[in-house]
């Protein structure tokens, strides 16, 4: 069924008010000494440019625990993870290991293992049986500093 809605509602005050404002000048004219710094404005710096060369492949994860404190990764830090990179020896990676996501240093020689950066923890050997996959390579750490 189609119903035609007849008549628009508009209050009298809307109808009465039909004045149009016309600007006196279309453009502003500056009449002073031009800023000497104007020619030197190039661009502003963008943190994304520094940390995220491959946006489509970049994910953020949040670190938990103290297994990487000697690498400067503390609990609560945001890690920038780039999936486009291929993990090589010595990279800090996000790994999926036995159904969990973990951040560790990848070592390929002499044996394949995941090394925590905390002397209190042992390295985790990766064998044929390990359910192991690289999620991505950690490229930056973002840490908000506490303020008093």
């Amino acid at each position: 069924m189609r119903l035609t809605y007849l008549g628009a509602s508009g209050s009298a005050s809307y109808i009465a008010e039909n004045s149009i404002l016309i600007p006196l000048y279309g453009e502003s004219v500056s009449a002073g000494f031009p800023s000497p710094a104007q020619d030197f404005v190039e661009k502003t710096l963008d943190l994304n440019e520094l940390c995220i060369p491959h946006p489509a492949a970049t994910f953020f994860v949040r670190a938990q625990g103290d297994s990487m404190i000697e690498a400067g990764i503390y609990s609560g830090d945001v890690l920038v993870v780039d999936r486009s990179l291929s993990a090589s020896h010595g990279d800090t990676i996000i790994a999926c290991l036995h159904g969990e996501m973990t951040v560790k240093v990848l070592e390929l020689k002499p044996n394949v293992l995941l090394r925590p950066k905390n002397k209190a923890y042992k390295a985790i050997p990766i064998t044929e049986e390990s359910e192991f996959e690289v999620f991505g390579v950690v490229t930056s750490v973002i840490r908000k500093l506490d303020r008093m």
Partner: protein
Amino acid sequence: MTTVFALVDCNNFYASCEQLFRPDLKNKPVVVLSNNDGCIVARSQEAKTLGLKMGVPMFQVQADIEKHNVVCFSSNYALYADMSNRVMTLLEQEAPQVEVYSIDEAFLDLSGVSAVEDLLSFGQAVKAKVDKWTGISVGIGIAPTKTLAKLANYAAKKYPATGSVVDLMRRDRQQRLLALTDVGEVWGVGRRLSKRLQEQGIYTALDLARTDPKRIRHEYSVVLERTVRELNGESCIALESVRPVKQQIICSRSFGHKITESRELREAISKYTYRAAEKLRAEQRLCRVMSVFIRTSPFIKNAPFYSKNLSVELPCPTDDTRDLLAVANSIFRRIWRPGFRYMKAGVILSDFYEPGSFQADLFSPVGSRRHAKGMMKVLDQINHSGIGHVFFAAQGVSPQWTMKRDYLSPRYTTCWQDLPRVS
């Protein structure tokens, strides 16, 4: 020059997005549910293997789900949209022209690529890149027409030996696949149509391809004739590189609990009206026809079913939430019947105009809404900024009817609080 199209399609997209951040769910049956956790709308390969079907209501398969420990998720649109954007951005880097066909599918125009590169290796390289960069695996079908590219993609999924990439440029390979494929698998041939075709002895895609196009046009439609031509390698459907403007905007939801009160239902409709108007403004269109529908659940036995839909033509196209709210409320007053337990409601905007492209009503008060555009813009800006939420009183102040989303996963990629945690 021969046209070359590729269809790139994400495998089990919603389920894959959920599994990507839950490595414990790799190789496990996972399903994603529709709005309000109603039906199954996506399944992991393992869930498919269990025989869970698309579109079945949750309560019908509850026993299977418990028996096989199937993990359920409510639809997490923020996550899926972000992952889709990543995939599409990559495809745009790889191909000269891309048409985003749906949230998980895109057509690429590869005409010209074959001159510099072997198409199969090109497809394999694109697949490998999308898989690695986004963690979403895709299938790719390459062919001289869109319809054949769809079919090639179907083969890429169906036959694992293909490695998920099929190059169907050669005619003999096309014919072989067409002969193996049911006519119902052809793009644009629905279930009803395939039944009718089968009654006429057209069982496979090859049977259809060998039917006289003129006869098809005469007996069926010009659309199916085009399909026949496309199956024979004649490209009739071009890439729509510019996203076509929507013809319709629909905002509808099922409710978390059944609504019996008119005030609650009216508030829900007002809220959808607001959302629809917001979308309309984002599309930079004005609409002239508005429909509102309300209905009870068809699944509840022994309860009376009520479903009503009413459309209104506005005197003048508009994108002003206030106009649309007034119309929605007047429609609602006409279709509301007490005594039912309402399960769903929605608004549909259609008949779109570009601003300034229609004849204004000579007798309507000119400039009556002189500041409407600015006001709506401010409203949208406030609501998109995350600073706050401004709404119309008609939407109600304490809605009770919000969606049921019991199994919602975190917004892993779009919310700082929801980032995946790693130890």
